[in-house]
């Protein structure tokens, strides 16, 4: 009997020993000492996981004694792994280093091995500040153009809009501070209103992401982040200076921050001013008409930009609240010899007098954004909410021309200026909220809600879309199931509903009703229209790692609500000789897509392939018919919004090979094929299909010195194929080759450091055409050789002394 007592006592003691628990806490920061909020921490074999809070802190309380593996991952940073024996409470400080030696040199990209990356079984690319500075182009999208599967649809040298795997306009969502950026995405001459100096990280989701981001994310997402929070009791900032020899750009940005304990404040002011850009041609061949250029500059493409940002934040251990405010202004001239496709005779004396002045035609945009973002970080859940207000005012100015039946002399009785061609004024209110829970050890579940309201008014002499109001909302849930051996199974479901109302519109001038009839009428271009839409989207994915191989697959259904232009356009786009007509009966666009990701890595070599295939049940496109219209179209060809089945496939390839510790070779390739399989344009491709491209890179990183830290010299050779897959009214575009050089270093001098990045873009001054450029149809070549210099000077101070 005593033996039994003894056994009980021993069991009891060992139970007590086992039940003794400890606390593991720590801080995660980057190589510059900035805390990394939102880094993923997993403690195995317990499968305990959490994310760091706003100050980069994490806490695992009540951990039983034992051996664990601590894994810390943050997209764009090298994963941290450590074996730990927990037999007392511990406090750790962990530094993560940006991904340098792997695919970053070709492209900064997330890794499939990275559990944070596994949050999405779709392909995700990441670009950080270093990438943005080293490859800086005329605007954010031109900078990101180097990434595989990402294209800039440019409108001159300072503006462009995003396209992912050949889908752009309203099929790509741009997110800033968690709020969807809303402007006039549908417009071919619209550029993205984003200050590229203000961006710290860009995450690009390639493929249909409607599940997390709602309607419009059918082609992908560009998620812009300014997530870093200054450390307590510090002040600092940086100065950026940029110059470009091609368009004589002078630009810069001043950033400053200050943080006491719980409150911080940041401000940024950016300016850019550029002249008409230079092309390697003496004249532009607009149809058969040769428009001579002055000093090889594209007449009247100068522009200017002024942006200002403020943010205020409150940071607690488990809670942050931040307010971001920004006002962006830009003004940009359009090529004077053609307004769109329409050739114009120009006053060359006026335009050629100076290269920096902006005359008609030009556009002016002002974008105001206020976002409040709250986050709660807890051990067992994370909650976030964003509320945003945006106003986008866009005006197109050009000399009054009496197209069609417009009066020869502009009447002075109208409420708008004769030279105001079009204006759009949009107000947007949006909100999102999301909670992540861990109901079971191996399961993470996310529940979210989002809603957005838009009101858009119009002005000016030209009519293309009616004024409209639109509301959309969605509710979604997303589940991550962590299987043994590091595999993850994911599934999500989303329901969206929305409605759209358009106002009626009548011409401000009279048109003769019929041939040979004297009766004149004010043509009604839009009638009141109310449409409502709903949709269920879903996605399933699987991510696995087998030795050096990483594999992922995702299958999903995405959708997009038709926009006002597609439903109710009814006007002449004189820039394209087209009479564009909406179709009130369009149904929401639905796409099914399968995505694969394959990556193999060894010490010296890494290869990744990301193929995809998409089937659009009813792709919405502007179909050029064969008829003309007199009364509504003023004699122009009728283009009607139609829907057809579309098949798309393609993918990206990226690889790098380290020849030695200082020299690396890399490859980035992308290819997209699209085919309309039904409807009027059966057998044709989709408009703006990017040609196949291959980028070969060699990068030399010699050992630095005390004064010159991390020097680099990098050369890109870009090989772009022909684009013969076209659809009316496009032109075939020949392939081309370009060479870009980049070199830079950090210079430490007298306790002050400077980051210098110099690029020579289009080194050989090659004349080539970009198939997705706004000016492609009038044969405007891409910019010639440009020297681009960027200098960043950081400064900071501790407030403790």
């Amino acid at each position: 009997m005593r033996r039994y007592y003894l056994l009980i006592v021993i069991l009891g003691l060992s139970y007590m020993a086992n039940s003794q628990t400890f606390t593991l806490k720590g801080t995660v920061s980057d190589d510059l000492g900035m805390p990394l909020p939102g880094a993923t921490i997993v403690l195995n074999p317990s499968h305990f996981g959490q994310a760091t809070d706003a100050n980069g802190n994490f806490v695992f309380s009540s951990m039983p004694k034992g051996d664990y593996t601590l894994e810390i991952t943050y997209i764009g940073y090298v994963a941290y792994k450590q074996l730990l024996t927990i037999n007392k409470s511990m406090d750790m400080h962990i530094t993560l280093f940006p991904v340098r030696q792997t695919l970053q040199e070709v492209v900064v990209t997330g890794h499939l091995t990275d559990p944070a990356h596994k949050e999405n079984s779709l392909t995700v690319d990441v670009a950080n500040t270093a990438f943005l500075k080293q490859h800086m182009g005329g605007d954010l999208m031109k900078t990101l153009d180097r990434l595989p599967g990402v294209d800039a649809m440019s409108i001159g040298s300072g503006q462009s809009k995003p396209a992912i795997r050949g889908l752009g306009f309203n099929r790509v969502v741009v997110v800033e501070h968690g709020i969807k950026h809303e402007s006039q995405q549908w417009g071919s001459d619209h550029g993205l209103e984003i200050d590229q100096y203000a961006i710290e990280r860009v995450e690009i989701v390639k493929g249909p992401a409607s599940l997390m981001y709602g309607s419009d994310a059918i082609g992908g997402v560009i998620d812009l982040k300014q997530s870093k929070i200054p450390e307590p009791c510090t002040a600092g900032g940086n100065v950026d200076l940029t110059a470009n020899s091609n368009n004589d750009l002078i630009g810069g940005s001043l950033f400053a921050y200050v943080r006491k304990n719980r409150f911080y404040f940041t401000m940024r002011a950016s300016v850019a001013d550029y002249a008409d850009y230079k092309v390697p041609a003496d004249s532009i061949d607009i149809y058969s008409f040769k428009a001579a250029l002055h000093n090889r500059r594209l007449r009247n493409t100068a522009g200017e930009e002024q942006n200002i940002h403020f943010s205020v934040g409150f940071v607690e251990k488990h809670f942050t609240n931040r307010i971001f405010m920004s006002v962006l202004n830009n003004k940009q001239g359009f090529f004077a010899n053609a307004h769109g496709l329409e050739p114009r005779r120009v006053d060359t004396d006026l335009h050629d007098a100076a290269s920096r002045d902006i005359h008609f035609p030009y556009q002016e945009v002002r974008h105001i954004k206020i976002v409040n973002k709250s986050d709660i970080f807890r051990e067992n859940y994370q909650w976030s909410a964003e509320v945003g207000y945006q106003q986008n005012l866009r005006q197109e100015w050009s000399n009054y021309v009496n197209h069609g039946y417009m009066p020869a002399v502009f009447p002075d009785t109208l409420p708008f200026d004769a030279d105001l061609e079009r204006a759009f004024d949009k107000y947007v209110l949006s909100g999102n909220t999301k909670i992540s829970l861990r109901p079971f050890q191996n399961v993470e579940s996310i529940f979210g809600l989002s809603a957005e309201y838009q009101s858009n008014t119009i002005d000016g002499r030209g009519f293309i879309i009616p004024a409209f109001k639109q509301f959309s909302s969605g509710v979604f849930t997303y589940w991550n199931y962590r299987l043994p051996n590091n595999a993850v199974l994911q599934a999500g479901l989303r329901y969206d509903a929305g409605f759209l109302h358009t106002d009626a519109y009548y011409d401000w001038f009279e048109s003769p009703k019929g041939e040979g009839s004297d009766e004149k009428i004010f043509v009604q271009r839009a009638s009141e229209l109310d449409r409502s839409f709903s949709n269920i989207s879903w996605s399933v994915g699987y991510v696995a790692t087998l030795r050096d191989f990483d594999f992922k697959v995702n299958l999903g259904k995405s959708f997009r609500m038709p926009i006002a232009k597609e439903l109710a356009a009814n006007g002449v786009n004189y820039h394209h000789f087209s009479y564009e007509k909406g179709n009130a009966d369009l149904s929401p666009e639905v796409a099914y897509q399968i995505d694969f990701g394959l990556e193999w890595q060894s010490e010296k070599l890494a290869i990744g392939l990301t193929p995809f295939g998409t089937y659009f049940v009813n792709y919405i496109y502007l179909n050029p018919g064969f008829e003309h219209d007199r009364l509504y179209g003023n004699g122009n060809q009728i283009f009607t919004y139609s829907q057809s089945e579309v098949l798309r496939y393609g993918g990206e390839l990226h690889a790098h090979y380290a020849i030695s510790s200082v020299l690396r070779l890399g490859i980035i390739g992308d290819y997209v094929y699209s085919l309309q399989t039904s409807g009027d344009k059966k057998g044709f491709a989709l408009p703006f299909s990017p040609p196949a491209s291959l980028l070969l890179n060699a990068r030399f990183e010699p050992q630095g010195t005390k004064t010159f830290v991390n020097p680099y010299l990098s050369m890109d050779f870009r090989l772009v194929g022909n684009q013969n897959a076209i659809v009316p009214p496009e032109e075939k575009t020949s392939g081309y080759q370009t060479v870009n050089l980049a070199l830079g270093t950090q210079i430490n001098w007298n306790k002050q450091s400077f980051n210098v990045a110099l690029q020579i873009q289009n080194l050989l001054n090659a004349k080539y055409f970009n198939h997705t450029s706004y000016y492609r149809l009038i044969n405007v070549p891409e910019p010639g050789r440009s020297f681009v210099l960027n200098i960043t000077i950081p400064f900071n101070k501790s407030l403790n002394n």
Binding site: Y287, F289, R345, A408, F577, I607, P624, F626, N634, Y671
Partner: protein, 163 residues
């Protein structure tokens, strides 16, 4: 070494993707407005008179099937726009319009036609309810489509005068 082989293999696959991809046959030819016939009217710098009919004569063609065409005439007193022809005519000085002439007219083409001769008599009135039309520089603009939706435009500078 094995790594290099894998790399060059993938590279080759990609190059093949870029240059080797042949699309199935689609009509990618624009229709043609031919202004070289001897009888073509109007040509750049031609003159037409108010109150008198004139005949548009042009040959148009397409590799498959023509769609439709449109003719418009509008003033160019401000020298604003779209001559697509290389020839430049002597323009009158820039002036403000008072009562300029405007014409917009759609024309269909019999279906199944690949080659068509435009022979269209246009009556140009002397005046409208606002009085006689302004004399001077005008644009004669023709837009042509084929059945697939490809289009071609020609803009010609003409003089319109009162006789």
């Amino acid at each position: 070494m094995r790594n290099l082989i894998i790399l060059s293999l993938l590279f080759t696959i990609f190059l093949t993707g870029i240059y080797g991809c042949q699309k199935e046959e689609i009509d990618d030819q624009k229709p043609i407005i031919d202004l070289t016939d001897e009888d073509t009217f109007p040509l750049s710098c031609d003159t037409v008179y108010f109150g008198e009919p004139f005949t548009i004569q042009m040959s148009i063609s397409d590799n498959k099937e023509l769609g439709s065409f449109n003719i418009s005439i509008h003033h160019n007193f401000d020298h604003h726009s779209h001559s697509t022809e290389v020839t430049t005519c002597d323009l009158w000085p820039v002036k403000s319009p008072v009562n300029p002439f405007v014409l917009i007219q759609d024309y269909s083409i019999p279906s199944g036609t690949a080659l068509y001769q435009i022979y269209q008599i246009l009556e140009i009135p002397l005046s409208n309810e606002n009085g006689i039309f302004d004399e001077g520089d005008y644009h004669f603009f023709i837009s042509l489509t084929d059945k697939e939706g490809w289009s071609t435009q020609k803009g010609l500078s003409i003089k319109m005068l009162q006789r």
